[in-house]
């Protein structure tokens, strides 16, 4: 026998004999074909309610008591609280920024300033603190945004900054240029309907209309592929011929 196969008890097979009535019982069949079993072996008392029966049973001992996930989480939270007490305020700020980054959020300077007028001092301390080296910022046109590059990528922080500033014209133009240059790839308009933009089709169309009116966006061009899907590309990074070719659907996929 190979590898200890056929372990006894691994598969339990029970033979069920349908239609067999146990000894001491009888059955009758009525005109509708309904079978009634008359079991003389029962003592006639009502069957005990399952819930009542279970309620009478003593509580089972929990072999894993003290190690539940909830208790582990609580212990970890207490530990974190203790650590927090030992942190400097700058380190606490860094921790706050980290937790927001982990949730895919930037932390805006203006928001911090509103919360704490002394924030500049704290940020200066944070920059000097070696344990806070992961806290960096991205500059938008309206604000500075902090994030932990241990929890958030730099490119995503750039995207999140654009989303935060809510200037759809700038966001679309800059991301189209970035994608053309980096991948290189034309950007389908529906790209902006997904996370983390979640723009509506109407919003995108409005932004494109505004873009057409401004000289600084004249490099952003639209193209429609053979399947009717609309794309954007920057003609400073990609020729129209190549953009058109890259827009076309894959021949067959799987």
């Amino acid at each position: 026998m190979l590898f200890g196969r056929k372990k006894p008890g691994f598969v339990k097979e029970e033979e069920v004999q349908g239609g067999v009535i146990k000894e001491g019982a009888s059955a009758s069949i009525d005109k509708d074909g309904v079978i009634t079993v008359h079991d003389e072996t029962q003592d006639g008392t009502d069957k005990e309610d399952l819930l009542d029966f279970l309620a009478e049973q003593p509580d089972a001992e929990d072999p894993y008591a003290g190690t539940t996930a909830l208790e582990e989480a609580m212990e970890a939270a207490e530990e974190a609280l203790e650590q927090k007490k030992e942190m400097t305020r700058a380190q606490q700020l860094a921790q706050f920024i980290r937790s927001r980054s982990q949730g895919a959020h930037l932390t805006a300077y203006q928001m911090l300033k509103t919360e704490d007028p002394e924030i500049d001092t704290l940020l200066a301390e944070l920059q000097e603190d070696e344990t806070c080296g992961d806290i960096v910022s991205v500059k938008g046109s309206r604000d500075h945004y902090y994030y932990s590059n241990g929890n958030m990528s730099d490119n995503y922080a750039m995207i999140a900054m654009y989303v935060e500033e809510k200037d759809l014209v700038v966001t679309i133009a800059q991301m189209v240029r970035f994608n053309c240059k980096t991948y290189p790839a034309p950007t389908p308009m529906r790209y902006f309907e997904n996370h983390p933009y979640f723009y509506t089709e109407t919003q995108i169309e409005r932004a494109l209309d505004l873009m057409k009116e401004r000289e600084e966006y004249k490099d952003i061009r639209q193209i429609t592929n053979s399947a009717g899907v609309r794309y954007l590309f920057s003609d400073t990074c990609m020729t129209p011929v190549y953009a058109k070719a890259l827009c076309e659907p894959d021949e067959f996929t799987d």
């Binding site: 200890g4 056929k6 995503y156 790839a185 790209y191 996370h195 890259l246 067959f252």
Partner: protein, 708 residues
């Protein structure tokens, strides 16, 4: 003899005599398993001129040392037999995922040789070392779903089963073997089983795979899941931006399609959002692939119950749907498939498709109907040629010419015009039951070409969705459009579509070109990797990449591991520079088998299988056509590859057309890399002897086709 990794024996089941025996397979372990063992066995036992469905024909259902060993994505099974439909009637393979391969291994076998022919319908029951041939007369005539259910009821819930459908029973060349879940092995295995009156197979294995170094296996598993694996096709960046990721696939068309806001809307207990799935978080890997959204867009979410998948695979690439609009047509609403059957049902509606409930849902619903019917009937599509040829037949109006008028008029065209999902079901049914002239489509591309006098020009034509990559009857499977000459080369090598995903997994990953290029050039040297639709002329490093992919596929079908996922060429890890680890297959082989595999030694063993494939292909082309070379016969390339996109010259930015002279140079370089004679494309004696295949060299010499 049992060793680590291998079960150590194969089963032999003779359906004529009822004899069931086991054989030690130690002498076959140098062929790894699955495909490799299958090639050796068929070469030794089934002369290449055997009629594919003769009683003397056999098939080998094989797994490998990694199957069921706990290696990620190792739930595959390979079936080797002679082709009944492609030119040369040569050696080919069908492949399937699911759970039945590992069960075979747990039952204690590396494979099953099935030979002979039963007088009455039967199925094979393997219950560890109790193996029997059982009566299947009650199951014969059933669709695969019902048949698998009946086999499971007869054998027990802990059996894994696979069955052929009406297409297999009617010996339709395009026929499959299907599990109850929709995993299917194609290429005509259904018809071969049908010719042997073999309806299916049920397997229960209660054993295990013996592992040489359990600690190392666990370490490699953790390493792969944490640092290397991506999503389906090992795409290494998400389809939409995620906060931990530097890059995402801008086009949105990549298989890491799980994202915040995308849900399994019909999940039990309420919708489940896929959220973010950071690299390193192994508990969220299964949320990375939302295949339905990749296939159809967000509209699919409405009908998604969950993602399912194969044994030992964390990826879960099978979208499971509940499409209630199908109930209005009395069609099953529960459907699941991950491959071609679920993608191109709209090809059966040449007049166009109309949405059912929501904008863009027509493709979803029609494919739900089409894939369920195709799976239930056990019809194979030859990687879409079935769909393309029906579509071409209608659009070109050739259908009115080749079908008798009465048959043409019997087709419910109003269903086609109304976008009724029953239309695709009805066409599939006619093909599965071999009804009428239309059923020629199910006999294969060569049969269509010959019976309807379409000539070579039909395979050369640029129009009509023509994808025939050789003149042998099968289409490209990720070829020049993904990797120019490289893809073209490995598409030429088999006797069916190549099913190699080594390159498309990189080009389709969505990662920036410069990132992927750095990874590939790190492995294979400068110039080996072009940007999409911006190809450069052939060079030696491209030939090396083509060889790596070609031999690598043989390992995957012999190991067995999934070629949609392996090898781990790229990684989602920024810290790794997005580079994967090409040593990992050999590392797993070493941990599981205890044999001191290295990347080089494993590639050598895999190449042995490639050499056997080439020898058997040469013999069958010689048998059938008297061909003394493969370069201009088996490996000939249709004109459309060079003549498409007439506004472009080859190598211009924006085209995937190839250049004839450059492609001939590519063949030269590839043949040289493989140790084949450049003029004929046939392995030399020196090459075959290097791989311990002297008997095959002698055979070629005897036939007069061994290169001088």
């Amino acid at each position: 003899m049992a060793t680590y990794g291998w079960a150590g024996q194969i089963l032999r089941i003779n359906l004529t005599t009822g004899a069931i025996t086991t054989e030690d397979d130690s002498h076959l372990q140098k062929y790894i398993g699955g495909m490799g063992m299958g090639y050796r066995i068929l070469y030794d036992e089934v002369p290449m001129n055997t009629p594919p469905r003769d009683e003397a024909s056999k098939f080998f259902m094989g797994v490998g040392p990694l199957t069921g060993a706990g290696v990620p994505c190792s739930g595959r099974m390979n079936i080797t037999f002679l082709s009944s439909w492609s030119k040369g009637h040569s050696i080919l393979d069908a492949h399937m995922g699911g759970h039945i391969g590992p069960q075979l291994k747990y039952a204690g076998y590396d494979g099953v040789i099935v030979e002979g022919k039963s007088a009455t319908p039967v199925y094979i029951k393997i219950d560890d070392d109790k193996v029997s041939i059982e009566d299947a007369s009650a199951v014969w005539g059933k669709g695969t779903f019902e048949a698998n259910k009946m086999l499971t009821e007869a054998c027990g819930r802990d059996f894994e089963t696979a069955a052929i459908g009406p297409a297999g029973e009617h010996q339709v060349n395009y026929s499959t073997l299907n599990t109850s879940f929709g995993n299917s092995a194609g290429a005509g295995i259904g018809a071969l089983m049908g010719s042997k009156n073999l309806k299916g197979i049920a397997i229960r294995g209660t054993g295990s795979v013996k592992i040489a170094d359990v600690t190392e296996l666990k370490r490699l598993n953790d390493y792969m899941l944490k640092d290397l694996i991506g999503a389906n096709n090992n795409h290494n960046v998400p389809a939409v931006p995620q906060s931990w990721a530097e890059y995402s696939a801008v086009g949105g068309k990549n298989r890491w399609s799980g994202a915040p806001g995308r849900r399994w809307e019909k999940a039990e207990g309420g919708p489940i959002d896929m959220g973010e799935q950071p690299c390193g978080d192994i508990n969220k890997i299964a949320y990375r692939t939302l295949k339905g959204v990749f296939d159809y867009g967000e509209v699919a979410s409405k009908y998604i119950v969950k993602q399912g998948g194969c044994s030992s695979c964390p990826i879960r690439c099978y979208t499971e749907y509940d499409m209630d609009p199908l109930a209005d047509y009395d069609l099953p609403t529960a459907t699941s498939n991950t491959c071609m059957p679920v993608l191109y049902a709209d090809y059966f509606y040449p007049d166009g498709i109309k949405d059912f409930v929501d904008q863009g849902d027509a493709k979803v619903i029609l494919n739900g109907a089409g894939s369920h019917a195709q799976d239930d009937l056990g019809v194979w599509c030859n990687y879409g040629n079935l769909y393309r040829e029906f579509n071409w037949l209608c659009k070109s109006e050739k259908i009115k010419e080749v079908l008798p008028e009465a048959e043409y008029n019997s087709i419910p065209w109003e269903w086609e015009r109304n976008c009724d999902p029953r239309f695709v079901v009805e066409i599939m049914r006619r093909i599965a039951y071999k009804e009428g002239e239309l059923a020629t489509l199910g006999e294969g591309t060569i049969a269509v070409q010959e019976k309807w006098n379409l000539g070579q020009e039909w395979m050369d034509m640029v129009a009509g969705n023509n994808q025939n990559i050789t003149y042998n009857g099968y289409p490209k499977h990720h070829g020049p459009e993904d990797s120019a000459q490289i893809g073209m080369l490995f598409n030429l090598m088999y006797n069916r579509d190549c099913m190699i995903h080594h390159l498309v997994n990189i080009t389709g990953s969505g990662a920036p070109y410069e990132v992927s290029k750095k990874v590939m050039e790190g492995f294979f040297g400068e110039g080996c990797y072009d940007n999409k639709k911006a190809y450069t002329p052939m060079n030696r490093n491209k030939a090396k990449v083509a060889k790596w992919a070609f031999n690598g596929k043989q390992f995957h079908d012999s190991g067995t591991v999934c070629n949609w996922m392996w090898p781990m060429t790229q990684s989602p890890s920024k810290e790794r520079g997005y580079a994967g680890d090409l040593n990992l297959e050999a590392d797993f082989m070493k941990a599981v088998t205890g044999v001191d595999y290295t990347r080089e030694s494993l590639e050598f063993d895999s190449e042995r299988i490639s050499q056997m494939l080439r020898v058997m292909t040469a013999i069958s082309f010689h048998n059938e056509f008297g061909a003394t070379e493969l370069r201009n016969t088996h490996d000939a390339i249709p004109a459309w590859v060079f003549e498409k996109e007439p506004d472009f010259q080859a190598f211009q930015e924006g085209t995937i057309k190839l250049d004839r002279a450059d492609m001939e140079l590519a063949k030269d370089m590839f043949y040289e890399e493989m140790g084949w004679d450049v003029a004929t494309g046939i392995p030399t004696r020196a090459t075959l002897e290097k791989f311990d295949l002297k008997d095959m060299a002698d055979d070629l010499e005897k036939r007069g086709i061994l290169p001088a």
